[in-house]
Symmetry: C2
Subunit: 202 residues, 2 copies
């Protein structure tokens, strides 16, 4: 059984459709998906960007929103443009990282739905709490743990690992042999790679 | 019959696979393709870039070369990384624009092949001349006309129109109703759009 690391950032628009469909696609190829939340902010800052490139380059930004709308329509995914972009996904990423695999997936999908289907602001603790509830967990202890020193450190390490693996955007997919795929539109290629070259051989 | 404008820049790596396969794909959907060469340089300069983003952002650049290699392999297109990037495609764009539709397509494909399959430098006049020959035309008069004032002005106008249509990268595809698609991986969606909504209606 192949394995694929799914690197995502809660502020990332194209990570939304990727998060909503990767498990279903992965099942088809019998690939196990590891959900790896990280922060793009520090990686963008390294590139000299203090904001999302979609804000820095308006023509690119306008296109992205239209493209995302088309993608969601084709996938029959609800979509509502959120207030403010990029939203601060720091708390969400800490919560996600503090959870076990299955809960992490459920929480992450719930938080993406809040942001991109319900146009809520994921920087608000109550919105994150609702996503924790949606994953079947009690918000208070989960939030307390998400803010603990080990979880904060783990998220920093996660983001450093992303940069080390050559990741420069989200979503990204990394196979066991290190092969990197960037963007929602590479899900299929990434899964096929992971399914057919699980150990890095052809 | 639908119509799709194919906006390409000779220095653009992802325009290479797009140029090599768009006609074959368009035939399937009965869409007529208008080949529209333009220059990305002035558009990048507006965004504050003095070089290709693939050079400005090395992680992105490393990924792009690998991704292009994978795409060409999947399409069974020959690929050899050219010396120097981005290459100066000004003369090529002028020649392309000076030709009629059919010759423009043949010339453009020949020039892309020179650069990305044979690793030649398209800034050299002899390389452009060979591509003109490959399109069945005599290089000297074609080159002379390509350098004429009207052709130079037409290329500037073409590039301004690209910016006006919201184009910020290449390849881009624009349907008759103005719908924009960016990137080689959007060929299929763009053709389907052009085939099913030729007048902008659903």
């Amino acid at each position: 059984m192949g394995r694929l690391d799914f690197w995502y950032e809660f502020a990332s628009t194209y990570s939304y459709p990727a998060a909503m469909r990767i498990e279903e696609r992965a099942e088809k190829y019998e690939v196990e998906v590891y959900w790896r939340p990280f922060l793009l902010g520090p990686i963008f800052a390294e590139q000299g960007w203090a904001d999302s490139p979609f804000n820095l380059y308006p023509a690119k930004g306008r296109y992205m929103w239209r493209d995302l709308e088309r993608i969601c329509e084709a996938l029959e995914l609800p979509f509502m443009r959120p207030p403010g972009f990029p939203q601060n996904g720091l708390l969400g990423a800490r919560v996600a990282l503090s959870l076990d695999a299955r809960e992490r997936m459920h929480f992450s999908r719930a938080l993406y739905t809040s942001q991109f289907a319900e146009a809520r602001n994921i920087a608000e603790e109550s919105v994150v709490a609702d996503a924790i509830l949606a994953a079947g967990l009690p918000p208070e202890p989960v939030l307390a743990r998400a803010r603990s020193t080990p979880v904060r450190a783990a998220l920093r390490a996660q983001t450093e690992e992303a940069a080390h693996r050559g990741i420069f955007g989200a979503p990204s997919f990394v196979a066991e042999d290190g092969e990197l795929f960037w963007g929602h539109d590479r899900i299929e290629e990434a899964l096929i790679w992971a399914a057919t070259r699980p150990n890095g051989s052809i």
